[in-house]
C-alpha cells in the first residue's frame, strides 16, 4: 500500500500544452553529452585499473627483492663475526 493524492483536473489535457517542451535537438545534445561522459569514465577507469595493476606489480617485485636480500646480509654478518 502506498501513499498518494488524487487531484481532479477540470480541463482536458491538450497536445498544445506539451509543445513548449518538445525539443528533439536538446534530447540529442543531452544524449551525446551523456555518451561522451560515459566514454571518458570508461577510459579513465581503464587507465586507473592499469595503473593499479602496475602499482601492485611494483609492490610485489620490491617485496620479493627485499625477501631475497635479507638472508644474504645475515650470512655476511656471521662471516664478519668469525674473522
Amino acid at each position: 500500500m502506498g501513499k498518494h493524492e488524487i487531484r481532479l483536473r477540470r480541463q482536458r489535457m491538450s497536445a498544445r500544452g506539451s509543445d513548449r517542451f518538445r525539443n528533439y535537438n536538446a534530447v540529442l545534445k543531452q544524449h551525446s553529452d551523456e555518451k561522451r561522459i560515459k566514454q571518458i569514465t570508461r577510459i579513465f577507469t581503464f587507465f586507473l585499473l592499469i595503473a593499479l595493476i602496475i602499482v601492485i606489480f611494483m609492490v610485489i617485485t620490491r617485496w620479493e627483492e627485499n625477501q631475497n636480500v635479507k638472508p644474504k646480509s645475515k650470512i655476511n654478518t656471521t662471516v664478519l663475526c668469525v674473522t
Binding site: K3, E5, L8, Q11, G17, F21, Y24, Q30
Partner: protein, 186 residues
C-alpha cells in the same frame, strides 16, 4: 497498430541504433502521450517536461539494448517514464500525485441521473485516495491510457493476472460503494 505500422516502427528502431537522428520520428510520435502520462502522475507541467525529456534521453541511450518482446515500442517508453517518475518521488520523498481529468471520469462512469453531483465526485476522489497506489496505477493505465492487461503487466513489472485482479477489485469496490455503472467491457 497494424502489421505495417509495427514493421515500419521496427525499421526506425533499427536505424536509430546506428543513427540517433532517426529516433526523432519516434520522439515526435510518442512525445504527447508520454508527456500526458507523466503529467497525470505529477500535476506539474515543468516537471513533466523535464521527466519526459529524460525519458527520451534514457530511451536513446539504451536503444541498442532494446529487443522486441511482442509489445509496442510505446510500452517500453511508458516503462521508462514510470521509472523516471518513481525515481523523482523517491529522491524528493514526496506524495505521489494522480491528476485525473474530470471529463474522463464522467465518460467512464454512467450515472443513473444526468446531473453530476459535485459531492459525488468528491466522494469518489476520497475513495480513490484510500485505494492502494498500485491499484491506481493499474486503473490509470487501463482507463486513461487504454492499455491491455498484458501491456500493463510489462509496464508495471507484474504478472498479467495481478494486473487483472487489481482492476477488478477496484471496480468491485467502486460498484459496491457508489452504486455506479462503470463503462467497462474488458
Amino acid at each position: 497498430m497494424t502489421e505495417d505500422e509495427i514493421r515500419k516502427e521496427e525499421q526506425i528502431i533499427e536505424r536509430s541504433k546506428k543513427d540517433p537522428q532517426a529516433f526523432g520520428e519516434l520522439y515526435e510520435k510518442y512525445f504527447d502521450r508520454i508527456y500526458n502520462y507523466i503529467l497525470r502522475q505529477t500535476d506539474d507541467e515543468e516537471l513533466a517536461g523535464d521527466l519526459c525529456s529524460q525519458t527520451f534521453v534514457n530511451a536513446l541511450n539504451n536503444i541498442s539494448r532494446y529487443e522486441l518482446r511482442g509489445f509496442p515500442f510505446s510500452s517500453w517508453l511508458y516503462k521508462i517514464a514510470g521509472n523516471e517518475v518513481n525515481k523523482h518521488y523517491r529522491k524528493n520523498k514526496g506524495t505521489k500525485i494522480f491528476s485525473i481529468e474530470e471529463l474522463k471520469v464522467r465518460e467512464l462512469i454512467e450515472q443513473n441521473t444526468d446531473d453530476w453531483d459535485e459531492e459525488l465526485i468528491n466522494q469518489l476522489i476520497r475513495f480513490m485516495n484510500e485505494l492502494p497506489t498500485e491499484m491506481i496505477q493499474v486503473l490509470e493505465l487501463r482507463f486513461f491510457e487504454d492499455k491491455d492487461f498484458k501491456e500493463i503487466a510489462f509496464i508495471l513489472d507484474m504478472t498479467e493476472s495481478g494486473a487483472k485482479m487489481r482492476t477488478y477489485r477496484a471496480l468491485d469496490k467502486l460498484r459496491t460503494n457508489f452504486n455506479l455503472k462503470v463503462k467497462y467491457n474488458g
